[in-house]
C-alpha cells in the first residue's frame, strides 16, 4: 500500500500524535510526571490491508510539570472496524526525567495520613488548583489516559477537561487506591464524556486502572452525584 506524507500541523498527524501522548502517560505517568504533545515534526500514513491505518510519526512530547521535552518516534495503528489503537514508541532519554524522590515522598505522605483524601473540581471554574491537590489532578490525567488511549480513533482528539471528584479508598496492599470521576473532552464532537475510574498507584507499580465505566450522557444535569 502506498505511504503518504502528512503535513505535521494538520489534524491527521496531530490526532495520531495525541494517541502517543496517551500511551506514554499510561506507561510512564505518575502524580509527578504527565506528558503533553508539544510538536509533530513529520508524519506518514499507510493503509495496511486487513490491519488498519498505520501512522509513523516523529514528534516532541513535553513533560508538563518540569517542562522537559523529549523527542520520540512512534507508530500508531488504528485497527480497521474497531475503536482501538496500537502504539509503539521509542523516545530519547525518557528516563532522564527523574521524579523518584517526589513520588516516594508523596506516597509516604498519603500512606501515613489518617484521613482518606478527597477533592472535587480540579481545576475549579477559574482554572485554579490548590498546590497540594495538584498531584491528584496529575494522577487523574494519567488515569484518564488509559481511557483516552482505548477510546481514540482517527476521528477523536481527547483531553481530560477536569477531575470532577476523587476519593481515596482503603487497600489491603501496598497500592494507594482512588475512585475517580473524570470529564473528558473530545475536540471533534465537542462532547464532554463522564468516566468513573478505579485507580491504583505506587512508585514501583506505577498507575493502573482496575475498572473503568462510562457514565450515561447527562445533558441537562443539575448534579453529578445522580450519575452512576
Amino acid at each position: 500500500m502506498a505511504t503518504e506524507e502528512l503535513n505535521p500541523n494538520h489534524y491527521p498527524a496531530q490526532r495520531a500524535a495525541k494517541v502517543v501522548q496517551h500511551y506514554l502517560n499510561t506507561r510512564y505517568g505518575s502524580p509527578y510526571k504527565v506528558f503533553g504533545l508539544k510538536k509533530v515534526y513529520s508524519g506518514k500514513v499507510e493503509d495496511v490491508t486487513d490491519i488498519g491505518v498505520k501512522y509513523k510519526l516523529d514528534l516532541l512530547v513535553q513533560e508538563m510539570i518540569e517542562n522537559t521535552t523529549v523527542r520520540c518516534s512512534a507508530e500508531v495503528v488504528f485497527a480497521r472496524g474497531e475503536n482501538s489503537s496500537q502504539v509503539q514508541v521509542s523516545c530519547e532519554e525518557l528516563l532522564k526525567i527523574n521524579t523518584t524522590a517526589q513520588e516516594e515522598a508523596l506516597y509516604q505522605q498519603y500512606k501515613i495520613q489518617r484521613n482518606f483524601l478527597s477533592a472535587e473540581n480540579l481545576p475549579d471554574n477559574y482554572g485554579h488548583i490548590e498546590p497540594d491537590m495538584k498531584p491528584l489532578w496529575h494522577l487523574g490525567a494519567v488515569a484518564s489516559s488509559f481511557v483516552m488511549l482505548n477510546e481514540s480513533t482517527e476521528n477523536t482528539l481527547y483531553n481530560m477537561a477536569r477531575v470532577a471528584n476523587v476519593t481515596q479508598l482503603a487497600t489491603e496492599n501496598e497500592q494507594l487506591k482512588f475512585d475517580y470521576h473524570v470529564l473528558l473532552h473530545d475536540m471533534v464532537s465537542q462532547e464532554i464524556i463522564h468516566w468513573k475510574l478505579l485507580v491504583t498507584w505506587s512508585p514501583p507499580e506505577g498507575v493502573k486502572v482496575l475498572e473503568m465505566k462510562k457514565l450515561p450522557h447527562c445533558h441537562n444535569c443539575e448534579t453529578l452525584s445522580d450519575a452512576s
Partner: protein, 362 residues
Amino acid sequence: MTLLNIVGLGLVVLLSVGGAATVERAEYDYYKYHPMSEISEWMVKIANDHRDVVTRVEYGKTYELRTISLLKIGLKTGAKKKGVWVDCGIHAREWIAPAFCQYFVRQILQTYKTDPKMNEMMKNMDFYITPVLNMDGYIHSWEGPTTRLWRKNMSPGPDGCNCTGTDLNRNFDANWGTIGISLDCCSNIFCGRKPASEPEAQAVTFFVGSRKDDILCFLTIHSHGQLLLIPYGHPNFTAPNYDELMSVGLAAAEAIKSVHGMNYTVGTSPAVLYANSGSSRDWAKLQGIPYTYTFELRDKGEYGFLLPENQIQPACEEAYSGALHIITYAHDKTFNGATTSAAATLVTALLAAAAVASNTLM
C-alpha cells in the same frame, strides 16, 4: 427620634455611601474572569468614560430576551467609516474569549491618543466589539461546576427533544447543516432547526449584514487550541483570497509567538482541526468581508476551557498582537495605498515642475 433626626441620619448615610463609593471605585481587573453582570456594567462605564470615541449599541436579543450589545469605538469624524468586527463568547465555556474582548477594548482606548498608528486606524475605522454574544449560555456556565462546560445557547430543543441549546457556531447561513454538525438536538454541535434560527445568530447577521460593504475584518474569538483558522469550514470550498489569508495569518502567528513564545497553527478548519459548516466566520466571508479569522486561544488541552486566571494576561497579550497584525494589514491595504499614490503623484508633479523651472532658468 424626631423627623429631623431621621432625615439627618438619612442624609449622613447617603453622603457616606457616596463617599465610600468614590473611594472604593477600583480599577477593573482585566486579569480575572467576570460574570455577565460585571461585564455589562463595565460596558456602560467604558461608554460613559470615553464618550468621545465609544458608543454602546444594542443590536439584538438572546433567546432569554437579554439585550445583546457591542461597543462601537472610533474617532467621530462624521464620515462614513470602514469597520472591524470582533466577537467573543459564542461558546459559553470559552471564558478566555470574553476576557480577550475586554482586554482589546482597554488596549485600543489606552493607545489611540499616543500611538499614531492606532490613532490613524481609529480615524479611518470603527471597531465593533461584542464581549459576550451568547449571554444566556455564558450566564448558565457561571451557575456552578456542573454547568461550567456548557457550550451552546439556551434555546429549547425542537418538539420532542429533551435537550437544550443550539451550537451558534454551526447555525449561521453558510453551507448550513452540511458537514461537521449533528441533527441530534442533544449534541454539542447541533446546528439548529434551520439556518440562523437562533436570535443570537440573527443579531450578528442583521448588524454585520447591513454593513457588510464597509467591514474589512471579521474576527471571532474562541478557545482552546492555539489556532488561527481561515475559511471555509467545508473542504470543497476555497476562499478567493486564500493565499492572502494564509500569509497574513502566518505573519499574525509570528507576531503572537514573539510575545510569549506560543505556537499558533494557521490553516483552514478542515485542514488543521475538523470540517464544519454554519460558522460565523464562513458566513462573514460569504458576505464578501475580506479578512475573516477564527482565533482559538490558549491552551492545547492541559487546562483546556478552564484556563487559569494567571494566564489571562499572557493569553490576551499574544492574541492582541496577532489581531492587531491582521487589523493593521486590512487597514493599510485599504487606506495607505490611496495615500501613498496621492503623495507619489504630488511629488512627481513637484519634481516635474522643478525640472521645468530649472530648464527655463538655464
